[in-house]
Symmetry: C2
Subunit: 247 residues, 2 copies
């Protein structure tokens, strides 16, 4: 399944993230320029893409799979600071070293660009910079919602919020309506969820059990989740009403 991307160079026209990634706004000629400098890299679940402080000579889009950004303190405390889904962008133009640990939590395929050519291209192609600005502003909004979660929500609300985020992103990819029964697989271990939420893995486990006991979710195995009522889940998450769109 990985092989199909890892060996061949996928044509941009067939790319699953063509209209959501950093290249979304590009015209055909601009796309051709990107096409000329792109290359694919694959990682297996659990592999580290980059360590904080490493020299990063490329930037990339997530094509498929999930990656995380985490920060670590000397004594080992860890906080996830980014959850990268397909179409999300990794790396920062103009920065030489990675600021965070980047890890593949599932099998992962990335569409990479060497930094220097990408920066040159960006200078000549306003559509790339425009799209990157838009995506960065979205990420900043997500980070700020996450800050509310970390600073003020209870453990139960944190878990419900995370489930809602995963369910929503999953639904938006697969274009399902959001108001009925949702089914998805958790792409994160309990430990990764704990790192996301600023909790311990024991608390994550307990709260998931509690949500199950209370009928907010159904569990099949450890990872397969069914949400009978998305509205109920949002209520448990402490989010006002519909999760507020802004855009």
């Amino acid at each position: 399944m990985l092989q199909q991307y890892s060996q061949v160079t996928l044509d941009c026209g067939d790319c699953p993230i063509r209209h959501r990634a950093v290249c979304a706004r590009c015209e055909t000629d601009e796309l051709a320029a990107l096409d000329a400098i792109k290359f694919y890299r694959s990682f297996e679940a659990g592999q580290t893409v980059a360590w904080s402080g490493d020299k990063m000579d490329f930037v990339a889009s997530v094509v498929s799979g999930i990656a995380t950004l985490t920060q670590t303190m000397e004594d080992g405390r860890r906080q996830m600071v980014g959850l990268l889904l397909p179409s999300d962008f990794v790396g920062r133009p103009g920065r030489e070293y990675a600021a965070y640990d980047v890890t593949a939590t599932t099998d992962l395929v990335m569409c990479c660009f060497r930094k220097k050519p990408f920066e040159d291209l960006m200078a000549r192609t306003p559509h790339i910079g425009q799209r990157l600005l838009e995506m960065t502003l979205d990420e900043l909004d997500a980070a700020r919602e996450w800050m509310l979660l970390l600073g003020r929500k209870t453990a139960r609300e944190k878990i419900a919020s995370l489930l809602a985020i995963i369910a929503r992103r999953d639904a938006s990819l697969n274009l399902r309506p959001t108001s009925k029964r949702l089914v998805f697989d958790l792409p994160l271990t309990r430990e990764a969820m704990a790192d996301y939420l600023g909790l311990t893995l024991e608390t994550v486990s307990r709260q998931i059990s509690a949500l199950k006991r209370d009928g907010v979710i159904e569990l099949e195995g450890k990872r397969h989740v069914t949400v009978p009522s998305y509205d109920r889940l949002l209520e448990e998450a402490g989010d006002d009403a519909d999760g507020g769109f802004l855009v």
Copy 2:
């Protein structure tokens, strides 16, 4: 002191944030175009600039003073998600409604642009978009450091971190060396600090007293702080070594 800005239109050439704000990269002709559509607004300490959900017909740069972005849950729990110092940018091109409560915590002067003309200008002036991208990426980094703070730091570390951030920003504005004795005034009430750090104001008060007792800081009145050793403060903040630059 406010008057000097609130009535007159300051010339961009004399602007204190000319080289740090969204206009930093602009050439003289681009600056003239911005100059033509800008206007100043002043707010007194404590005034609300905008409520979350309000229609926002302008974007702006903070010229002087401090503003905060906060999110509020229905039951009143509050989390600050942005601390805006001079040169920081408020508002999002392409967004019609404010996503957060914006409050002046000190007397505040903002250099405003009506949204539509600003967006038009941005489309014609790549330097503005470039600079805004750069600033947004910086804000995203700051948000991620803040997430580590909220998710994993102890109350004492949180306070020390906040003091370090304020001291550092203050120092960078006034161009002082960072390794010696630093003196500054806290621009935030205990309650605002609590909202920043995801704590209660009582805990903030107690931890500040503890840091004072332990000689990490000296206090004169409630707001005037002296930091005898910035390195000691960073140590208390749990930040690795020098606070790591990346750029």
